[in-house]
Amino acid sequence: MGKTVIELQNIKRNFIVGEETVHALRGVSFKVEEGEFVTIMGTSGSGKSTLLNTLGCLDTPTEGEYLLDGIAVRSMSKAQRAVLRNRKIGFVFQNYNLLAKTTAVENVELPLMYNSAVSAAERRVRAIEALKAVGLGERLEHKSNQMSGGQMQRVAIARALVNNPAVILADEATGNLDTRTSFEILVLFQKLHQEGRTIIFVTHNPDIARYSSRNIRLSDGQVVEDSRNDNILSAADALAQLPRNEDD
């Protein structure tokens, strides 16, 4: 395996709610190598959202160090973390979070808007490339309200790809989609995995674990299972076996 992209060293995260201290993460440690497709699973309250926020540099751990692509995150300021997110992380959310009334290309350009090193022309070229990579080369100028859920999630994935991040963080990325579209999105994630991208997919759906290369199970703020999946199922095959929708 290649280099380590993510390294968590005994991460703890406490929240103070009123008088009580809630321990959302109670010492989580693992490494993710470049090119892995990791699913993080757990029931609600298991701490997976907190872990995702930590991995995404949106939150800082109370204790423990987090190295993203070799960079220590814990001591960073808010602004520094924002820049780090901009360069190293691509987010895919459950509810897509596209800008309203905005075209696909403009949505994908968004992360690059906050990177002054990228010129307007380069921004557009890269956004179009990313959209082609997710199979939306024909819908560059479609606005977000003119697209289906699956298409919107593809735009969101293109947006996560456009800054060429060290890791793609997907938060229930198929949660709002029907079965068929979910598999289409999974096919896309597997394709990105094969291209060598590092993906962390947070979900509570155990089925998705069968399509990833590694599976981390979280319970009560601790890692209870961390297993390699040697028998990765093909989402494309599963998609082919699904009964066709009558309108397709």
């Binding site: 926020n53 995404g56 949106l58 939150d59 808010k78 602004a79 924002a82 820049v83 997110r85 901009n86 360069r87 987010f91 959310f93 979070n97 800008l99 309203a100 009334k101 905005t102 403009e106 968004l110 992360p111 808007m113 906050y114 990177n115 002054s116 947006r159 800054n163």
Partner: protein, 406 residues
């Protein structure tokens, strides 16, 4: 993040919410338009009052014999004989802040021409008098210095005299009118001026050389007054000082003696009127300024709503790498864009309103450049000031909560 991208982002957000942006602007538009219109109306009336005053001769200085008090009793200045013709000549020769000067002696009486007669008075003046009183000869000509030297029996008459003595439509030029049995040949007719703001008929005048009136009509050696015109309105005070110094010297007054003459100018009237209109302008501007502040509060209001409504968008922007300062700048730029665009439309609307006021209501309006610049500057400041708090709120949102905000 460069400022160019921030502008693009802010502009796009506004374009996506055209109607709301416009409604927000409305407060600013009305505010700016009213500031400009009110200031223009205020300034217009100020100028028109000034013009009226200067029509009466805003540089005019009047010198009358007699001080304000004399032994506790005031006397009719025209009875006093302290102002002599020599005083006039000295002033004429020595004053440097005075552009025109004329003595004044008047003799009242019944003007007679054929079967017509009219009670009026003949003013004995020098040719400079026209300049001092802003009079113009309409037909014929003014008498000259030579007429003064020879005490010629000529006169220039106002339109009211023409109407009363020449009601048969004869051309008055060359005709002879009589006053107190003295025949005067009409050599000119003054251009009509109408009534002044005090209600006095400015056309009820007969002007003759002062020598004629002094020698032939009144047989006196003293003057009833001297009229002078300062070089400019601003120099009136210097001119008054100069005249006062010369007259005190001529009248051999000691330092502890009071003036035996009174000097008045139009400046007091002028400054009183302009301070009144200045006050009015300030009041109008205050009212208009309040509407600008209300417009600003409108911006703040909408920006707050907008921040709440766009919480998810802000969360997303932060998660893809927008720093707090980027979000702050975006919302500030939005607020300033709204207020500046509103300001621009307001300026146009204000100019339009001024034009309407001018053409429809016929009020004098005068748009000053500084009022446009001022309201523009105030606009921008309003945008920054009232945009700051919502922008600060947006920038301080927690991206984790913002992105999941429902």
């Amino acid at each position: 993040m460069n400022i160019n991208n921030l502008f693009k982002i802010a502009l796009r957000a506004l374009v996506n919410n055209k109607l709301r942006a416009f409604l927000t602007m409305l407060g600013i538009i009305i505010g700016v338009a009213s500031v400009i219109t009110m200031l223009a109306i205020g300034q217009g009336s100020k100028l028109s009052i000034q013009a009226q005053i200067s029509e009466m001769g805003s540089n005019m200085i009047m010198i009358h014999p007699g001080g304000d008090k004399q032994g506790g009793v005031r006397r009719d200045p025209s009875e006093m004989q302290t102002l002599k013709l020599e005083n006039y000549e000295t002033l004429r020769d020595e004053c440097s802040f005075v552009s025109a000067i004329s003595p004044e002696v008047s003799s009242s009486g019944q003007l007679v021409r054929g079967a017509n007669n009219y009670p009026s008075s003949v003013s004995g003046v020098s040719p400079d008098y026209l300049e001092i009183r802003q009079l113009k000869v309409d037909r014929g000509e003014m008498f000259t210095e030579a007429d003064v030297q020879s005490a010629a029996k000529v006169c220039v008459i106002g339109q009211t005299i023409v109407d009363n003595l020449f009601s048969d439509g004869d051309d008055p030029i060359g005709q002879v009118i009589r006053i107190n049995q003295i025949p005067l040949r009409v050599i000119g007719v003054l251009k009509a001026k109408g009534y002044n703001s005090m209600g006095m008929d400015q056309d009820d005048v007969v002007l003759s050389p002062y020598s004629t009136v002094m020698k032939r009509l009144l047989a006196v050696t003293y003057l009833q007054g001297i009229f002078a015109s300062a070089l400019t309105e601003d120099m009136t005070d210097y001119a008054i000082d100069e005249i006062s110094t010369i007259l005190r010297r001529e009248h051999k007054l000691q330092a502890d003696e009071e003036d035996d003459f009174t000097i008045r100018s139009q400046q007091e009237l002028s400054s009183m009127l302009s301070s009144t209109t200045g006050l009015m302008t300030t009041l109008l501007a205050c009212i208009a300024g309040i509407s600008l502040v209300v417009g600003g509060i409108g911006i703040m209001n909408i920006m707050y709503v907008s921040v709440t409504e766009r919480t998810r968008e802000i969360g997303l922007r932060m998660s893809v790498g927008a720093r707090g300062i980027d979000i702050l700048s975006q919302f500030l730029i939005e607020a300033v864009l709204i207020s500046i665009t509103g300001g621009l439309i307001g300026v146009l609307l204000g100019c339009g309103a001024c034009w309407v006021v001018k053409t429809v209501v016929h009020w004098p309006v005068y748009i000053q450049l500084w009022s446009i610049l001022l309201s523009f500057a105030v606009c921008t400041l309003t945008g920054i000031f009232f945009g700051w708090y919502p922008a600060k709120k947006a920038a301080s949102l927690d991206p984790i909560e913002a992105i999941r905000y429902e």
